[in-house]
């Protein structure tokens, strides 16, 4: 069967899988960004207990594998009385894992803001919260955007793992098509192309757009 014939027959399933993949991606990204900011700021806290909590979270999630965490959340957490359905378990695991990687980006970017900026804010007697929110974080944000672009592509790729617990994303649909038709080249080839298009033709230019926009915004203020 030619590739076009294949697409003609199976495009509805590929499309529905792609939509689920995008949903998982968006929810997991939101969670990862929230966790990264929280854990990244906690890493810089003056309170050792707060600092250590965040350090343990980051090292534990970066030191074990995402797939282990995914199975743990889906199969073991119910034993403790916390049952999540597949979809929620999937995006939460991906978001928590990539959030730990993101936390290090947030920490690095905040530390990369020149010291003079901290001192100037202090000299103007800004409160610590205001200093972070108005002075430090906007500058750190621009510094960390390029590495976040790479991290979000990683997140999109790792989101394919949610298919292993049965979330009907693109990877899952592809596997199903493959096992019922044995058209491996077409099925997996189509999925590879779709993931590539999502990452390189949508995500990368989109992030570049945010980058230039933020830079301009910062210069204007």
């Amino acid at each position: 069967m030619s590739f076009w014939n294949f697409l003609e027959i199976y495009w509805p399933r590929l499309l529905s899988g792609t939509i689920v993949t995008i949903e998982v991606f968006l929810l997991a990204s939101g969670l990862a960004i929230a966790i990264a900011i929280a854990a990244g700021l906690m890493r810089l806290s003056t309170n050792p207990a707060v600092r250590w909590t965040s350090l343990i979270y980051i090292e534990a999630l970066r030191g074990t594998s995402l797939i282990v965490q995914l199975y743990w959340i889906y199969f073991v957490l119910p034993l403790f009385g916390l049952t999540l359905d597949k979809f929620n378990a999937g995006f939460i695991a991906v978001g928590m894992n990539l959030g730990a990687y993101g936390a290090e980006l947030v920490r690095g970017a905040i530390q990369a803001v020149p010291k003079g900026q901290w001192e100037a804010a202090y000299a103007l007697s800004m409160s610590p919260a205001k200093r972070m929110w108005r002075i430090i974080f906007p500058q750190a944000f621009v510094i960390m955007l390029p590495p976040w672009g790479n991290l979000l592509i990683e997140l999109l790729k790792y989101s394919a793992l949610v298919s292993l617990i049965g979330v009907t994303d693109l990877m899952f649909q592809t596997k199903q098509i493959n096992s019922s038709t044995f058209l491996s080249v077409q099925a997996f080839g189509a999925a590879l192309i779709i993931y590539y298009v999502l990452a390189r033709l949508l995500l990368t230019p989109g992030l570049r757009w945010v980058e230039t926009k933020m830079q301009r915004q910062l210069q204007r203020n």
Partner: protein, 223 residues
């Protein structure tokens, strides 16, 4: 609810999990070796005088880097037989891991090579050194140390991606934990132990790669 930790069960399954740990480590080591070599090919492929070859290799690297590893594992395992290439899950898995990380390592190599100042190339040319000695005596010793940190990160990365091989049935740690869990209807102990084993390998491994980097820098007379 059944959340108490059972030690007798733990001791019963631990030997099997430790044995699978060896498979996991072997998979990471072999996959990494393939990637070290493949990365070199991808990196040098982007340094040829031919613009067309550079462009093609660049796009291949970008394609591999922007698609999921788990999909690549399935692709290699299932597509091979359609063209008459039969591979065991183990071989297909090693190939997929190796190729995927080749793309990442080629970027690390490229960064290291680009970091060598242009004057070094010119000086080697002025001294009439051959291409081989330019690389082995002048460029690589300077390109290696900045690349080592990235190489170390991907060694830990490849270790943590080996559980993906379980999807095509390689009997590594995750696959073993899955079958223990399914056979006994107990997931708490196997999955928790697997997580701990990964933590116990990856944390020291990250530390060791950092020590190795420092050692190489000292050997080469850098700080």
């Amino acid at each position: 609810m059944n959340f108490e930790w059972r030690w007798d069960f733990t001791w019963q399954i631990l030997p099997r999990l430790l044995e699978a740990t060896l498979t996991t480590m072997a998979a990471a080591a072999i996959g990494y070796s393939v990637a070290l070599l493949g990365g070199l090919i991808f990196a040098l492929g982007q340094r040829t005088p031919s613009r067309v070859i550079t462009f093609i290799v660049r796009e291949i690297v970008e394609f591999i880097r922007s698609t999921p590893l788990v999909l690549q594992i399935f692709f290699i395992y299932f597509v091979g037989p359609q063209f008459g290439i039969r591979m065991s899950p183990w071989h297909a898995g090693m190939l997929a891991l190796g190729v995927h990380y080749s793309a990442y390592l080629s970027e690390v190599y490229r960064g290291g090579l680009d970091a060598v100042p242009k004057g070094q190339w010119e000086a080697a040319l002025a001294l009439n050194l051959s291409t081989t000695s330019t690389y082995t005596r002048i460029i690589l010793p300077q390109a290696l140390p900045p690349a080592l940190a990235g190489m170390g990160n991907y060694l830990v990365g490849i270790l943590k991606d080996t559980p993906l091989l379980s999807v095509i049935g390689v009997a590594e740690l995750m696959h073993t934990a899955n079958s223990i869990g399914a056979a006994n209807y107990r997931y708490l102990e196997p999955y928790t132990i697997v997580g701990l084993i990964f933590l116990l390998i990856s944390l020291p491994l990250a530390g060791l790669t950092r020590l190795f980097e420092m050692w190489v820098r000292r050997k080469l007379g850098m700080k």
